[in-house]
Amino acid sequence: MQYETVIGLETHAELLTETKLFCGCLNRFGAPPNTLVCPVCLGLPGVLPVMNKKGFEMALKATLALHCRVNQFTTFDRKNYYYPDLPKNYQISQNYLNLGVDGYLEIKYDGQEKRIRVHNVHLEEEAGKLIHTEEPGADYSLVDFNRAGVPLLEIVTYPDMRSLEEAEAYMNTLRNVLLYTEVSDCKMQEGSLRFEASISLRPTGQEKLGNRVEIKNLNSMKAVLKALEYETGRQRESLEGGGVVAMETRLWDELRERTERMRTKEEAHDYRYFPEPDLAPVVIKDQWLEELSATLPELPLARRNRFVTELGLSDYDAGVLAEDKAVADYFERCVSHYESPKVVCNWVTNDVLRELKERRLEIKDFPVGPEMLVELIKLVETGAVSMPVARGVFVEMVDTKKKAPQLVQERGLLQISDSAELEGIIQAILTENPNALTDYKKGKKTAFTFLVGQIMRKTKGKANPQMVNELLKQKLEAS
């Protein structure tokens, strides 16, 4: 029997605020343990939360970017459960009136666009961090509360994905949207972006969903995909063997590359949500929504499509550029100074991205700004330098932060486009290589290439390649 995979994803993204959601402690990764804590985020007796406006607005911005209907009267609720990393033993979250509901994220996979529906988006607080010691036989865990109270956005989809590829496209696109809207740095290695998946199988054509398994402990997108692949196999085997898939939560074991049943008691799952009396409800007036909407950037998929339709780029190149907002911004600034998007695209997707990667730089720290790059491109266009020389100049620009004309000047790299000068050089090469001339006369085409190479070598690549071709041909034909 054929089975269809049904996948839903829950995403947690830490928001990029300066301070925590309910207190003034810094929202920073990597500080010494328990140094970014105060009475509020440690949950001492008597403390009260006060909502960080920036955090709330970031959540709202993401909600809008995900096309959700905003609950214009939104409230916070307490989610009650005991865990040592949760200072108050309840998490301030949202349950009854989530910030956003019924949205969608458009993904593009295999040239096809598809909407993945978003069930809800809500704002909550992070827990601290439990450290399980490596020490053999240790009977304790340690707690660091630096992360406790960091603003956390949760995005829950409907079970709308039908393949690993769609899940992957969703995760990438969502990540890009969060980066584009500048609400999260989405660093999975630091835990600021995390996924939980739910997956079920059903016979192809059947409408009713199969029993769902939730998977936790997924530390990277790769892990999500591996876990989903493993679960697909495990569930298919079980179904094909006439078994039933148990509705349960499973943990991904990164080392053994398999999921395992979570050992928790069922009664631990009664969260007893009720309205958080310590936080006033938030009323979101239309004007506020409009102001925030106005700050929303063009989203990655729209931009990608615009690059194709308006700038004539290939869908692939457009995708590469649009993936990172800063890169796409850089590209567009170049284009605003130079009329050929394709030429700029080649420079950005090849040279710029390569240097960024090799030097582990972010584009905001890249020494060659858009104006500098365009200056270089224009030197190529006017024939002042050749393409190969320009590539070298570019690398040197990154090294030295100097502008292209200055470098070309300093290094004497201007292209030789003076026909008299070039003719002299060609004559000299022909005199030095009489055999090549003979070969050419005999019809050996490679002799021509050889001679061009010699000319380029002699001029250190500065000779205008087009003119060399023409002049050399004339000379050979004439002799």
């Binding site: 301070t19 010494p32 909502m51 960080n52 040592p84 009977d139 304790y140 865990s141 009664e267 006033a280």
Partner: protein, 96 residues
């Protein structure tokens, strides 16, 4: 009549993280049963068209600016901890 059996009491006690003695379980079953019976009187009221009142104030939209405030020093943070190790709070091993 709301009657609290032992199983319910045990379930609630687990949710509340209270390891009640047998005596307390029995006592609470009967006392809470009485209180719940008293509370039953709320059922006399038709509240189908009444909004719940979760907040005792009409205050809305209270925010703080995203500006840093003081944190505690590490020693202060750990001062009241029943058990600690180095710079951490220490608890019994948590198994996932």
């Amino acid at each position: 009549m709301a009657i609290l059996d032992k199983k319910t009491i045990e379930h609630v006690a687990l949710l509340a993280r209270l390891e009640l003695s047998e005596e307390e379980k029995e006592l609470f079953a009967s006392q809470l049963g009485n209180i719940l019976n008293y509370i039953e009187k709320l059922k006399e009221l038709d509240t189908s068209r009444v909004e719940p009142m979760a907040y005792a104030t009409a205050t809305k939209n209270v925010f703080r600016e995203d500006t840093p405030g003081p944190s505690l020093k590490l020693e202060e943070a750990l001062k009241n901890a029943p058990d600690k190790l180095q710079d951490f709070f220490k608890v019994l091993k948590v198994i996932e």
